[in-house]
Symmetry: C2
Subunit: 134 residues, 2 copies
């Protein structure tokens, strides 16, 4: 059976990166591992690792991205939780059998080779869930 | 300096516990450690531990609780992220120095002796953050 191994990261959509980093980095003292522009997602992302997991702060850099629309509609706040899974194909088969609504019917592959897929909030209790295999 | 040690848990407000458990427990295969009625918070909480962290599903059991009002206003979804800190009093002094807006000016003590306090979303980038000392 495929297994969920850990919380990999929690992603927060922010509208003001400097103000957000004032809290997460300067006040909480968390390590800002990287502040990366991600043109493919029209976003700037701050990565703050924490004991095997990570907090990610995501700020849209363009008004026409999915993340910008999310921000405009819902305001800043939690965007998704990412769970590490040992066998993403196996897990997605199980989810389909259980009639869980998926956003990605098949895993997608990122530039770094990791596989991921999103589960629709309708099936999770209202939260966007990303599955991720290293 | 006080330090953030780990993500302790992520709490999700749900309006249908059975449907939510169908995803988290039955489909993802996560262990339901406990399904607890918490009269003090007028809630039922499902605890699903995961490699030192935890996913908590919180369902209001009364219409007049804070969590019920949150659900009515925002719909189901992520409620807060809880970070473990080694020295909560020290951390709260730092946060005050940095003009971070707190919901609890002083740590509160739970029945089990753990200390906790909430930081206002206004200062965090939009997400309710709980600090927690074991």
């Amino acid at each position: 059976m495929p297994k969920i191994k850990a919380i990999n990261h929690v992603a927060v959509v922010v509208d003001d990166m400097d103000k957000s980093l004032h809290f997460w980095r300067d006040a909480l003292g968390m390590d800002l591992h990287e502040l990366r522009d991600v043109p493919a997602e029209k976003s700037q992302i701050a990565f703050l690792p924490l004991a095997g997991a990570e907090v990610e702060l995501v700020m849209p850099t363009s008004d026409d991205s999915g993340i910008a629309k999310y921000l405009a509609k819902r305001g800043p706040g939690m965007h998704h939780i990412c769970l590490e899974v040992d066998d993403i194909e196996g897990m997605m088969s199980v989810l389909k059998e259980k009639n869980i609504r998926l956003i990605n019917e098949e895993p997608r592959t990122a530039v770094d080779g990791k596989k991921y897929a999103f589960v629709h909030p309708e099936s999770t209790g209202g939260v966007l869930v990303e599955l991720y295999q290293l």
